[in-house]
Amino acid sequence: MEWLNTGIDWLAALFNDVVVVYFHMLPEWLQTTIWILLKIVAIMLPLMLSVAYLTLAERKVIGAMQVRMGPTRVGPRGSLQPIADAVKLIFKEIIIPTGANKYLFLTAPLLSLGPALAAWAVLPFGSDMVLADINAALLYVLALTSVGVYGVIIAGWASNSKYALLGTMRSAAQIVSYEIAMGFALVGVLIAAGSLNLGDIVNAQSGNLGLLNWYFLPLLPLFVIYFISGVAETNRAPFDVAEGESEIVAGFHIDYSGMAFAVFFLAEYANMILISALTAIMFLGGWLSPLHGLLPESVLSIPVIGSLVADGIHWFIFKIFIFLFLFLWFRATFPRYRYDQIMRLGWKVFIPVTIVWLLVVGVMVLAGLAPWFSAA
């Protein structure tokens, strides 16, 4: 093993001598730019891989729920299926329909993917792991999730097809309706945490009682409404009337093929991960361990177990996985809502419940209800 150690030492020294020294010779603005670009890559690469493997997970999980195997052919137990799908889609022709507006037709997929990725800039992964630690992070996330609808609208209109336009109309109405419930649910979190900064919102959920300190307990109705509205915002089953395979074939992306379609697909799955991450941050304490504040220092200093039960990014990822599984479970379980049922649920159930619960949250915060709001 001696040679391995010296080898690593030698490589580290080389890295120090060459890369670090030359890096510091660059002008300062260029250094900052390179650092930010590296951080963006560090967020985007795992995210894109997760998106690819989420499609496989979806087929496997739904397969298991319906007593099927799911994909098994490409790679061991079908593990390379997403790669094969991506390669296939890249090499397919992008057909632009007659009478379609070419520029808008091709920008629409980008407009739906862009906001889904841009929102990750303000998401905290750990106590100091965040790309842009800004004050108005919550507003920024709300604004970006509301802009995502343009991809759908423009795609539907630019395709010059009746099915696509019908899908667009449904999607636009649905997203605008559920955004209100979603925004109100976030206002509840905002009142509870007293901050728009996502890191502060997570820190406000830490205490001596571990997972009982998280906001999902005092804000339970808002938690449920936020996640269900999130499912509706991402146009996932049972709210997928915008696609509605059985009635309007594939809705807004009926005319898309090849990579243009794949980008819509990427956007949908990136949005699912985003909604899961946001729900984890707002209501399940983000990177906080469920045993936070319950364990003595001696347990936390045990080599491997200590770092596992302590706060960290692994808990955040685990919480995201829970919600992603719920997304897949919903799709395998529930039949599609009818359009009027969706509207009724959004306007007549969710919005009144959130407004009432905002009052309750205000009273709880004023009364300093322990253990959540006692410090405030």
């Binding site: 800004i134 004050n135 108005a136 509301s146 609808v149 343009y150 609208i153 423009i154 109309m169 605008v176």
Partner: protein
């Protein structure tokens, strides 16, 4: 020229260009989309002025909600572009009068006599931890609480009035009653019939 100045001129150019396109493109849907772009670049300029709350609210409210509904309506309309262009000359005099009035009013407020770098002191730059949202909230809910509440009530009245205007009850419309649908029991829908199986010949 600093980085901020470059950013300002880029977004200012986009704003002016897309603003021009809003009124010159023939297709109303494209005009609405250019208006969205105008809002976006305006929000970016406001962001440079350290007004991040207003900038994000502009995107959230106007881009995320108002323009979506606007597009929704414009896409459904059947607008005859040829007829609109034919009456361009006819409406030109009226348009010029309105234009002159607007330019006159603008000049009275933001003309060279009242507006310029020498008329105002340069605003102090805030520290990185300055919270624009918090400051705005404090002002809105203390000094301007009555105007704010009155504006809220007026908006609420407008919403109620708009809904009341579109609400038409017709006697023969059929609609679902979810509470009745939920209350349905198995025995209401299913009748088990004992039948003799078809005989093999």
């Amino acid at each position: 020229m600093g980085f901020e100045t470059i950013v300002f001129y880029v977004f200012a150019a986009i704003t002016v260009f897309s603003g021009m396109m809003v009124i010159t493109v023939k297709n109303p849907v494209q005009a609405a989309l250019f208006l969205v772009l105008t809002f976006f670049s305006t929000a970016a300029i406001w962001m440079l002025l350290e007004a991040e709350f207003l900038a994000i609210t502009l995107v959230l409210v106007y881009v995320g909600a108002v323009m979506v509904l606007f597009l929704f309506v414009v896409m459904m309309l059947d607008i005859n572009v040829a007829r609109m262009r034919a009456s361009f000359i006819k409406h030109l005099p009226l348009g010029l009068v309105v234009l002159a009035l607007m330019i006159g009013m603008m000049l009275m407020i933001v003309g060279v006599d009242h507006f310029g770098a020498d008329k105002f002191a340069e605003p102090a730059r805030h520290a990185a931890d300055y919270n624009n949202t918090r400051e705005l909230g404090l002002v809105l809910y203390t000094i301007y609480v009555y105007p704010f509440e009155i504006a809220a009530v007026i908006l609420l009245v407008a919403i109620v009035a708009a809904i009341a205007l579109t609400l038409r009850r017709r006697a023969n419309t059929k609609h679902q009653k979810p509470e009745q649908q939920i209350a349905v029991q198995r025995k209401d829908r299913i009748r088990m019939v004992n039948m003799k199986a078809e005989e093999q010949k």
